[in-house]
Amino acid sequence: MSHMEQPSERPGDGIDPRGPNVPHFARLFAIWLLATAIVEPVLYFLVWPHIPPGTMTDAARGAQFDALVLTMTAAPVVIAVLEYYLYAMIVWHQKKGEPPEDGPPIWGHVGIQAGWIAITSAIVMGAFVFGTYELINTSGAGGGEGPSPIWTPAATKNMLTVQVIGQQWLWTYRYPQFGGFETPDLILPNHTKIAFHVTSLDVIHDFWAYQLGVKADANPNVDNVAFATTNETGRFTVRCDELCGIWHGAMYNYGYIVSPTAFYKWATSTEKKLAPLTKTLPKFAWTYNPSANGAGGGYYPSTDPFYEVYKYEYGSSGREGNLPAVHIKSFGWKPSQAGAHHVRER
């Protein structure tokens, strides 16, 4: 079959308003250019500031900027396609009252096909390069990077480590730089790099701090790390974003970004207040296995050899001794007073 456009042999095509001599392409292009010229500034100036998730952290700001770039790239494509379909429906349809006839037998057009492939490939590669740059540039863009993140913030000296523990059905948070106290409240200092270490005690949850632009799955026995640097004080929402059972929909709480001074005051006083509770908690670790402590519900028989294998990870609580020291990762980890010192300086 021929892939070149074959000129119609019908007489009178020259004067047919739908015939080949009408500059359809020029018309389409002009309309497209005009529409794009209107839409793009609107997106840039009016829509950008309102794109979720806002600007509370650098990760959120990055996601917002990325969404803008994608929207501004997509808009001309959407305009072109919709415009073309509308144009075709208006101009190239069988008129009522006219005898039904067929269209010109056009089987293909090498130039158009090649051009189409070239343009879509260019857009796609552009999106890929930009997305990858943004992913690396914002240290993983607030997404969970797994236990060994490769894109970390440049200076990790003054980073606050927050361990996020998912359990059916509530989040609790441990602050290892403040004696490892654990609380259902999430308070963060402003203008600080935060490393969220997300783990779970039972099933898969997903830690979604919406306004922070942070999302990381909580898998049992897995330490999933996500980074963000706080920019603004205020309230943010934490929701569970992976179906985890009956109360998944109710598994949310609010966190607050406060001034570093207020944070330090809160953290040190809470550390002191919760000291008796902290003593009963397992020693701080990146993951926990409560089943090894006899809290597994008895699904697996107690003769399961894996209880022994994983036992070391749990508990300074009196049942188990001889715990190996927790491996402390280089970034973000400082003994509690040093970390506090940094916060106090601000």
Partner: protein, 675 residues
């Protein structure tokens, strides 16, 4: 002489073996015996399970015997298949008998039997998928009812999750077979000029297995439901109620049907093409079926294995998916999505194929860049095996995998774009006829544009961090699957009903259905993009009060969307059964081979003579074009047919009429029964 006046059916009488008349319909195997078999199998399985496991410690402390449930469901399915007669052939062979080949029963009871006529199976599938779609749709109505209020609840939260899970699972199962089942099985042999599918018994059994899958999934509700959603993530899966066993067995069951169906279609398309049906002449719909069938055959076994591991975890207390016992919760995620993402394209490519098939008919132009379109479908199919980890961008996978899967995911939009290339090229200077199927095609392009573009947002990791697992994703895949596949499917139902049944659907009701469905669909799902972007996770029963207006809008639109399908149901039942209006032969003036003979009058072996294919079916606007095929087959070439010599007998020209003059009785017939 038109097709309405000819009586192809008369030719079949002579072939009907008397043996089928001996067995009265009610006493031979049919759907009633199948249900009896299922009940017996369920009981036997349950008894065996109790015998094995009732003294297990976990069974005694929970009162929940997963072994019994799994075995009951498995034997129930087996009993159903035996009861319908699906295993007669292999069982007889096993005991050394040579099973007698019989022509399928011809009266109305054939629809309730194990029929090896691909046209019957296609219609069975059609009713099956539409019924399944309606059941799943009712669950969707329930979901939207619960979400009308952010804090007051219509359903209990555990029941709500069961509803969500049932909706998702039923719809996914339905959508995998939505086109491949009814239209694939019905049309492929007619389009490629074959007398049957390659494996008629596998084809028939795939339908009954599909039906079993639906029933197994529905048994989850009385078994206590499952609360994992259709993705069934472990270890929540391992914790869940006995309904979870129905999910695992149900997916295994329907997966078996999908594998068999896909395998059958691949072999049929490759080996059963009529003489002259070169690859370059294959209708684009058949290309889409081929691509889809490869996905069905290659991706589904992974799900099967994943489900089997899940069953072992829940019955034999293995720990495939339990991290703290040496397993991995990522194992399920990876296995599931390694199936799950090709699955997404199992639900998209058939829609592309249908639209590509209908566009030339209603634009009266050849399909633009046919080869690019076929290549696009195979490109999508191939790439779909390399994108699954984009579902796990924030799960804690190896972080440098993320750019890789971002790339593959974005690459897949290039071959997907080919579908727009062929669509837009075909529309160029066309003579569009705004029939109802054409309107569905154009709507599909509109919806899939939104679905596809938002898919790029999901593929971009920084943006995905916000929208992963939110209503944005939910709206995205409803736009691609419902907006894409389902719109194409309904267009095809309006397009092919005259071929399937010989009846014309009411055009006014059809137009009402289209506009109602199109507007309500967009009103329902477009706001949900915004809801997701504003921070609402999927599958929640409570949400922020600031999102209530948008949610209520979506709920109200969803009810409208649900009601639009009632228009279709009324139209379909009324026009096909209650007050049938005979359809003209080839009402759309299509050049496709399937339209050149009235399929609803065809004998079960389709063609009296194997047709000889002369060209592809897209030669619109070419006055000198050859017909698509010689329907007299070799007789025409030999000059023995009534039409005489090489005279074209297919539809020709700008205003083609179905000029068919099949030879009958002149020459000695060959035995048309499958070997």
């Amino acid at each position: 002489m038109t097709a309405t006046t000819m009586e192809l059916g008369a030719g079949t009488t002579g072939y009907r073996p008397t043996a089928t008349r001996l067995a009265h319909p009610w006493f031979s195997l049919n759907v009633i015996t199948a249900f009896l078999g299922a009940a017996a199998g369920y009981g036997i399985g349950h008894w065996i399970g109790n015998y094995i496991a009732s003294n297990y410690a976990v069974v005694q402390s929970t009162g929940q015997n997963n072994v019994a449930v799994v075995l009951a469901l498995f034997f129930g399915v087996l009993g159903f298949i035996v009861g319908i007669g699906g295993l007669n052939y292999p069982i007889l062979k096993m005991f050394g008998y040579q099973p007698e080949e019989r022509a399928p029963v011809e009266d109305w009871t054939k629809y309730f039997r194990f029929s090896t006529d691909h046209k019957v199976v296609g219609k069975q599938y059609l009713v099956g998928v539409i019924g399944m779609f309606f059941i799943g749709g009712l669950f969707a109505m329930a979901i939207r009812t619960e979400l009308t209020n952010p804090t007051t609840h219509f359903f209990a939260p555990d029941i709500y999750l069961q509803i969500v899970s049932e909706h998702g699972t039923i719809m996914m199962m339905m959508a995998t077979s939505l086109v491949v089942g009814p239209l694939g099985n019905f049309l492929i042999p007619l389009m490629i000029g074959s007398r049957r599918m390659a494996f008629p018994r596998l084809e028939a059994i795939s339908f009954w297995i599909f039906l079993c899958g639906l029933m197994v999934i529905l048994t989850a509700l009385p078994l206590g439901g499952f609360d994992t959603g259709w993705t069934g993530y472990a270890p929540l899966q391992t914790e869940a109620a006995p309904g979870m066993d129905a999910y695992l067995v149900g997916f295994g069951t329907i997966g078996t049907g999908m594998i068999l169906n896909g395998f059958n279609q691949i072999v049929t398309i490759v080996n059963y093409r009529a003489p002259g049906m070169r690859w370059s002449r294959l209708p684009i719909f058949v290309w889409s079926m081929l691509a889809t069938s490869f996905l069905l055959t290659l991706a589904t076994p992974v799900l099967f294995v994943a489900g089997w591991f899940g069953v072992l975890d829940r019955t034999a207390q293995t720990a495939f998916y339990v991290n703290t016992h040496g397993g991995s919760s990522y194992l399920w995620e990876n296995l599931f999505w390694f199936f799950g993402h090709p699955e997404v394209y199992i639900m998209a490519i058939p829609g592309f194929g249908l639209v590509g098939e209908m566009l030339p008919v209603f634009t009266r132009k050849p399909l633009f860049a046919y080869r690019v379109g076929a290549a696009g479908m195979f490109g999508v199919a191939l790439l779909s095996f390399f994108v699954w980890q984009h579902h796990l961008f924030v799960s804690g996978i190896n972080p440098d995998m993320r750019p890789v899967f971002m790339l593959t995911t974005e690459l897949i939009s290039i071959p997907t774009g080919f579908i727009y290339l062929i669509g837009m090229g075909t529309l160029w200077r066309a003579k569009i006829r705004f029939t109802v199927p054409m309107m569905f095609c154009l709507a599909m392009y509109f919806n899939f544009l939104i679905g596809g573009i938002t898919g790029v947002y999901n593929s971009d990791v920084p943006v995905d961090v916000t929208i992963h697992g939110s209503f944005f994703v939910m709206a995205h895949f409803h736009y691609t699957i419902m907006g894409g596949l389902l719109f194409a499917f309904f267009g095809a139902v309006y397009y092919y009903t005259p071929l399937l049944t010989g009846k014309m659907l009411n055009n006014t009701l059809a137009k009402i259905h289209f506009w109602w469905m199109f507007i309500a669909f967009n009103f329902t799902f477009f706001p949900l993009f915004i809801v997701g972007f504003l921070g609402m996770p999927r599958r929640v029963f409570e949400y922020a009060p600031r999102l209530q207006v948008l949610n209520d809008w979506a709920s109200a639109s969803a009810y409208m969307l649900g009601m639009s399908f009632l228009v279709f149901a009324v139209n379909f039942v009324w026009s096909v059964w209650v007050d049938p209006k005979p359809a003209p032969a080839n009402p759309w003036q299509s050049l496709g081979l399937e339209w050149q003979l009235p399929a609803y009058k065809m004998p079960w072996y389709n063609f009296e003579r194997l047709p000889i294919i002369l060209s592809d079916p897209y030669h619109y606007g070419e006055r000198e074009a050859l017909p698509v095929a010689h329907l007299q087959g070799v007789l025409a070439l030999a000059g023995a047919g009534a039409g005489g010599g090489l005279a074209p007998v297919g539809a020709v020209g700008p205003d083609p009429g179905p000029e068919i003059s099949p030879p009958r009785g002149e020459a000695e017939r060959e035995d048309p029964r499958p070997e």
